[in-house]
Amino acid sequence: MSILHTLRVALRALMRNKMRSFLTTLGMIIGVCAVIFSVAVGEGAKAKVEEAFAAMGSNLLILMPGSSTSGGARGGSGSQPTLTWDDMRAIQNEISTVKYVAPVLRSQSQVMSEDQNWSTSVQGTSPEYFAIRTWPVSSGSPLTQSDVESGAKVCVLGQTVVDKLFGTSSDPVGQMVRIKNIPFQVVGVLAKKGQSAMGQDYDDAVLVPYTTFGAKIQGGLKNYINGAVMIGAASPADTSRAETQITNLLRDRHHIGGTDDDFFIRNLTELANSQQEGTKTMTTLLNAIAAISLVVGGIGIMNIMLVSVTERTREIGLRMAVGAKPKNILMQFLVEAMTLSTMGGLIGLSLGVLGAKVIAQSFGWNTLVRPDVVVAAIAFSGLVGIGFGLYPAYKASRLDPIDALRYE
């Protein structure tokens, strides 16, 4: 007896009790629907977090001067400049897992064009900044090493600043702006980056060489970095190692014995991971519910298949009398159980995908239906059919034809 025919017999048997078949598959429908839905929402959220952290910069570590204790009072992070330019150079030169290092000195300053002005975050940095933050210019050119060395009065504007000072559709490259009344030439415009996860506008910034920043905008200690240092590790896997190596290097350089560090490192890759932990917990919970639902659905299928075997005892007896082998009977009921569960899986899949779409549209959530999850869900629902259909099918195949024929 061919598989195709077995399938036809199974379908006909299931169609005979439409309502019952539907109710039986309900468990599978809910289970698969929940899996598809939860994975879609989870993956969507994950993709969004990844996107947000990628916008901050790749493999990013932020090194900040830490607290210093003076007279028993402990200052907070960044309360004292404790990092020196030598520290920065040492990190650059001595630690192999570090690819780029760039200082970031910040000052909120009024920036003026010919007829407009705007208060924004002016940042003194180095050319490596563009690489660390994977932030190209959309027109003009980024800051160069020679700009830094010569302390040139040049700047690169964020898109928001361009919009405020020059209007939305103009290219200010080559024009002059005044920062703290000092004229700077605009050499480039940063590509639009958008908002951070916290709603901060990345594009509201002006970049100048850090040497110029120190000399003209915010005078300060010559040897100390009055800001933070951005560090780009060689790869995502290297961020944790780089963090440890930098910590050890700086403790050594600052003669710190214990753990009362005078600096602070933020590992954004880890931050991203911990952000995702929250989503993961949610997804795990939903998946657990889905798994339970699938098991319950499987038990429902087993239950109905047992009823079906009992109801059709005479049919089984007759099939055996006319020449069905035990394995034929086993296959017949196994295919029937699999058809039930796979049907449920397919319906659940459609509902899950639909639900994800509806959620995406009405709540603006990110959802992502991965093809491998779809395949896995269908395969798994088929497996549930085999797993829970095996016992009833085996029971049917072991019936004694004489007893089965006599069964009332």
């Binding site: 007896m1 025919h5 006909r12 005979r16 005479r314 049919e315 007896g317 007759l318 099939r319 055996m320 009398a321 006319v322 020449g323 069905a324 082998k325 035990p326 394995k327 034929n328 034809p401 004489i402 024929l405």
Partner: protein, 245 residues
């Protein structure tokens, strides 16, 4: 010529808890090809057990059973299924048709398990239905057929696999007297085509249509007589014409 069915010293014992029930206490029976034999006996006489063993649905506790020259008493379940499929055909008292399944699909069942492909399967099933006079009702479901017609579908199912033996267990038990005789006429016609028919019945007037009557009692063959069978086709002709229903 060797006999088609040869039972020698066949015993069957059932264990019911602590009690052993001896259903067959040593049966010797030889049936030649083309014979029409009726097995009679009261309930508990062992005739059903005998039928089950002859029909390869059950295996004897001891003794030998040669069917068409093959020793079947020690065969596996799968082998017995093959024998039932190709050598035997069954007709039951309660027809045992699949409900909500057309006559053709009921008849083709044995061919499905033989692995006969679709075209030949349908062709042979239709031929079998024509053979039993139901050529015009092939797509009817059992619920749309009378008892006699249902039994004829069952007979078509029994012969579609071209068996050597047809085993009929009280085939007229659920039929009125007229359709009973019609069914017997059909069996006699099959006999003329060389098919061996073994009929279990407790009705003496049905046994009259067989050429040989075996009476069972207490697990033994009590009597084994040959007779001139009554012609069922002629008997049908003598019956008053059926009232239009």
């Amino acid at each position: 010529m060797a006999s088609l069915i040869e039972l020698s010293e066949v015993k069957k014992t059932y264990h019911m808890g602590d009690v052993d029930v001896h259903a067959l206490r040593g049966v010797d029976l030889t049936i030649d090809a083309g014979e029409f034999i009726a097995v009679m006996g009261s309930s508990g006489s062992g005739k059903s057990t005998l039928m089950n063993i002859v029909g390869c649905l059950d295996r004897p506790t001891s003794g030998h059973y040669l069917l068409d020259g093959k020793e079947v008493s020690r065969m596996s379940r799968d082998q017995l299924a093959d024998i039932r499929n190709r050598t035997l055909g069954f007709v039951f008292q309660s027809f045992n048709l699949l409900t909500r399944t057309s006559a053709v699909e009921n008849v083709e069942l044995p061919l499905l398990y033989q692995g006969v492909h679709t075209k030949e399967r349908v062709q042979r099933s239709k031929e079998a239905l024509e053979r039993v006079g139901l050529g015009k009702r092939m797509d009817h479901h059992p619920s749309q057929l009378s008892g006699g017609q249902q039994q004829r579908v069952a007979i078509a199912r029994a012969i579609v696999g071209r068996p050597k033996v047809i085993l009929a267990d009280e085939p007229t038990g659920n039929l009125d007297s007229r359709t009973s005789v019609e069914v017997m006429a059909l069996f006699q016609a099959l006999g003329r085509d060389g098919i061996t028919v073994v009929l279990v019945t407790h009705e003496p007037d049905i046994a009259e249509y067989a050429a040989r009557v075996v009476v069972m009692r207490d697990g033994h063959v009590m009597s084994d007589t040959r007779q001139k069978p009554k012609d069922a086709a002629a008997a049908v002709a003598e019956l008053p014409p059926e009232e239009a229903a």
